[in-house]
């Protein structure tokens, strides 16, 4: 259908939006790169000259590698938990039960809670060593309360973030599950496949594309998780739950070193691109029809 002239017209039509988006991306990226090579501390009057030490500072900082590992742990941990639990919950609420509509809304509800609110709820109502529900449970069973945010800070953050993102995963996986024709399942049943084999050979392959979408979208958001850490552990104890975004925040807002924060930002961009390349190499083909 497309002739030379219509293709040219189409390019002309989309050109302005492409241009705007390009500027939108290039300007902040360019500025960040520019600042990342500048000596630019808000608390110091000397703001001139170029340096590469903003980067070397990061690579030599004792908690940088920990922050990198924590970032990947957070992304990986939440992905594993939400995809596995999301699949199981989707299977569960796909069953015909009374009050199915209400049940589904309940399952989706956590997604509407703002991250700092969710984190506060978890910190104060569940994980608090005196007032928390978990502490009460431990005491009730005769154990010492677990100090979640002190002893297992990273795991606690992963737990909170998983709780927030589980509904998203469940929702996408549920819609995928509902698009599976019942005749395929019946055919598999006639072919002698038990429930587990039906899941493995029919349901799971059907869901791979949805799982891929969940992984890709969540990764984008999880790489930038900040609010939950800020609200609960403040990156601590020490820097046990510091991630790359939190480290950048500390350089920019606490230390007021714009140059270093910009360098951290560039490192984060590179990390995000590396993760994206790995993901697209690994599971990107699932998106093709």
């Amino acid at each position: 259908m497309s002739t030379q002239s219509t293709r040219f017209a189409a390019r002309l039509m989309v050109a302005p939006s492409v241009l705007v988006l390009l500027v939108w991306m290039i300007v902040p990226l360019g500025l960040t790169i520019w600042y990342s090579f500048r000596i630019f501390r808000l608390l110091s009057p000397e703001r001139t000259g170029w340096t590469y030490r903003n980067y070397t500072w990061f690579f030599n900082a004792p908690d940088f590698w920990l922050a990198l590992v924590n970032t990947l742990l957070l992304v990986g941990g939440v992905l594993i938990i939400t995809v596995i639990l999301g699949t199981l919950i989707a299977l569960l609420i796909d069953q015909p039960v009374h009050g199915q509509g209400a049940l589904r809304i309940l399952v989706i509800a956590p997604f509407f809670v703002m991250p700092p609110v969710a984190a506060s709820i978890w910190e104060n109502l569940f994980m608090h060593p005196q007032n928390g529900l978990f502490a009460a449970l431990s005491r009730g069973l005769g154990y010492e309360p677990i100090l979640f945010l002190e002893d297992y800070p990273m795991a606690s953050v992963i737990g909170i973030v998983s709780w927030e993102w589980l509904p998203f995963a469940t929702l996408i996986l549920l819609t995928a599950l509902q698009s599976l024709s019942s005749e395929q399942l019946e055919a598999a049943e006639m072919d002698g496949a038990g429930a587990l084999n039906r899941f493995r050979y029919i349901i799971l392959p059907h869901m791979t594309r949805a799982i891929t979408v969940v992984i890709l979208i969540q990764t984008i958001f999880l790489l930038g998780i900040f609010g939950e850490i800020f609200t609960t552990t403040q990156g601590g104890p020490g820097s046990a739950s510091t991630t790359l975004p939190y480290m950048i925040f500390k350089q920019a807002i606490v230390a007021k070193d714009i140059g270093r924060a910009a360098a951290g930002g560039i490192i984060a961009v590179i990390l995000a691109n590396l993760v994206a390349i790995v993901l697209m190499r690994g599971i990107g083909k699932n998106l093709d029809a």
Binding site: S181, E186, A188, E189, M190, D191, G192, Y201, P205, H206
Partner: protein, 331 residues
Amino acid sequence: MGKIVLKSVRKAFGEVDVIPGLDLTIEDGEFVVFVGPSGCGKSTLLRLIAGLEDLTSGTMHIDAREVTSAPPAQRGLAMVFQSYALYPHMSVRKNIAFPLKMAGASPEEQEKKVTAAAKVLNLTNYLDRRPGQLSGGQRQRVAIGRAIVREPSAFLFDEPLSNLDAALRVTMRQEITELHQSLKTTMIYVTHDQVEAMTMADKIVVLNAGRIEQVGSPMELYHKPANTFVAGFIGSPKMNLIGGALAAAEGADQIGIRPEHLGIVTEGGWEGTVGLSEHLGSDTFLKVTTGQAGVLTVRAPGEVMLRHGDKVRLAPMPGKLHRFGKDGVAL
């Protein structure tokens, strides 16, 4: 072996009795067609036999083995679905091998049987394709292939040809009939198309509102319909049913005459005017409005060149009249 016996089988969905109670015996090796209008319960009956639905009451035996509450996999039946229900992410080879894999067959055995089935069904060149890359007829054959590798005691077909175009339907109809002749396995085939029923079946079961109206060979149903429902359903175009004085003269409540058993005569008979005439070349179908008998459909030879508005006289061929009583049952 594949003798299937249903005894007072009943199926209700909530308050609605879809099948109010039905007895049926399907002999080993028979090609049985369940035929009836939409919503008559024929697909439900097939799903009951397959085990995809639970019986509300009644019993079912396959080869003298009670299977009333056995899960589908243990009944030894194979089903071909209306939508084919192929596994879209598997190649044709894996689709056909799936039941063997589930049964724990060795890879060599799987390969052997898949190759044999592919040969029978002309699928050898398509084994590595995905179902999405196949035409409707090929998908249908893959679905059949998946069914035959299991060597089931009976095949169940749920309106398998309804998604195909007319020409392909005729070819597949013949292929399925040939398959039955070579395998000699019991086949149960559900359709709403009486042509498929007439051409394929050893035995036709005519269903209406969950009840069996008549069971018999295609020719039995054609020549001796048990009631007006069967009379109207089997045969194309439909049998003419005439009530009133003409029927009373024959001592019946209604009389029936098939369009092909109405002759165009020069004297006597029923006088009428041609309303619609369809020239098919081999045949001419006429709709004739008569005074005594109402509107009649006539199947005349192709040479008959009557047109709209022409006067014509019709007479039933002797001995071809069907007589029905008050409740529609044949006399």
